[in-house]
């Protein structure tokens, strides 16, 4: 009788472990990219300083910023919406070619249509890279970006 009880207990533990592992694996497999709205940025920078830092030493800036959530503050150079409804907001010095290009998270498109050139904005996004181009200037790319509400 006692043996049976112990066996049952062991069986229960094994079952819980199996179900737990399966659940974790399932969650890991279907894990969605993080919504940045409620995430704290790792760094806060101005758009102009951000571009400058990559321009000075892109390897160093890569190591510091890549794959991290960055809050970038700056002036809107351009707001674009394509035919699929994807928004891109370009921050930086309006008289220069180089910019911070923010590809906006399409789950948070509300209110983006009101943004215009010259607005001051704070944007959070994952820094994914830097592209230097002869004619077009050098750009830092942010993905899954959202407007940062500071209140």
């Amino acid at each position: 009788m006692k043996k049976k009880k112990i066996l049952l207990k062991i069986l229960a533990v094994v079952l819980i472990v199996i179900i737990g592992t399966a659940l974790l694996a399932f969650r890991e497999f279907y894990r969605k990219p993080k919504d940045l709205t409620n995430l704290k940025p790792k760094f806060t920078v101005s758009a102009i300083d951000f571009i400058k830092e990559f321009g000075t030493d892109d390897k160093k800036a890569d190591a510091k910023y890549l794959d991290k959530v960055i809050e970038v503050n700056g002036v809107v150079k351009e707001m674009k919406k394509d035919e699929n409804g994807y928004y891109t907001i370009v921050l930086g010095d309006t008289s220069a070619m180089s910019s911070v290009i923010c590809s906006m998270d399409s789950l948070h498109n509300d209110g983006l249509q009101n943004i215009a050139r010259g607005n001051n904005l704070s944007i959070k996004g994952v820094c994914t890279g830097y592209n230097a181009e002869e004619f077009l200037g050098s750009d830092v790319i942010l993905n899954r970006a959202v407007i940062n509400n500071k209140n």
Partner: protein, 186 residues
């Protein structure tokens, strides 16, 4: 006198044209689809910050895509794509440098859709290969929409797919390019 006037007018209009030679975008889209026919889920990523420049006089065209900027529906897929397949830390960018082989067939001053052949070198994952594909340039309201779809064999670029997911990830990925180019003002 008349000749000088005509010549200077020609010169002026040519230099005005010159400034409009280059068209570009920094918000081009590239869709990467490697869903194998037997896979129950989509293996698909989209890059929404593709940089593209075209010189309409020479027909030279270039694309650059930051690998980490490909967004996948699921994080695990995106991590595998970056860490195991294209090794984004080592090879952060994919690039295409080439030209429109039949550039003279395109009338950039007249709205319309023009079929084009694009030839050039595509670099992904540190490997460079010659590619040739058909596409369409659509001239409308002073902008050029550049659209093309072509296949890329992953093995050509030394991207190996582990046997564990071989039934989900296709050996040949479909790449769709969609860029709306605007005149570059100097």
């Amino acid at each position: 006198m008349k000749n000088i006037l005509v010549a200077s007018f020609l010169f002026l209009s040519m230099s005005a044209l010159h400034a409009q030679d280059k068209y570009f975008t920094k918000e081009g889209k590239i869709n990467f689809n490697a869903t194998s026919p037997s896979s129950p889920e989509k293996v698909e990523g989209i890059n929404k910050s593709v940089i593209c420049v075209e010189d309409i006089k020479t027909g030279n065209i270039q694309f650059a895509a930051i690998m980490k900027a490909f967004e996948f529906e699921r994080s695990l897929m995106q991590e595998h794509f970056n860490e195991n397949y294209v090794e984004s830390d080592k090879y952060p960018k994919a690039e295409f440098k080439g030209m429109i082989a039949n550039n003279s067939d395109v009338n950039y001053t007249k709205d319309g859709s023009y079929p084009v052949t694009v030839k050039g070198k595509l670099s992904i994952h540190g490997e460079t290969k010659d590619v040739e594909t058909n596409g369409t340039l659509t001239v409308k309201n002073g902008k050029i929409a550049a659209v093309a779809t072509f296949d890329v064999a992953l093995a050509d670029y030394k991207v190996s797919i582990p046997s564990l997911v071989a039934d989900k990830v296709a050996k040949v990925a479909k790449i769709s390019v969609d860029c709306l180019l605007e005149p570059l003002k100097n």
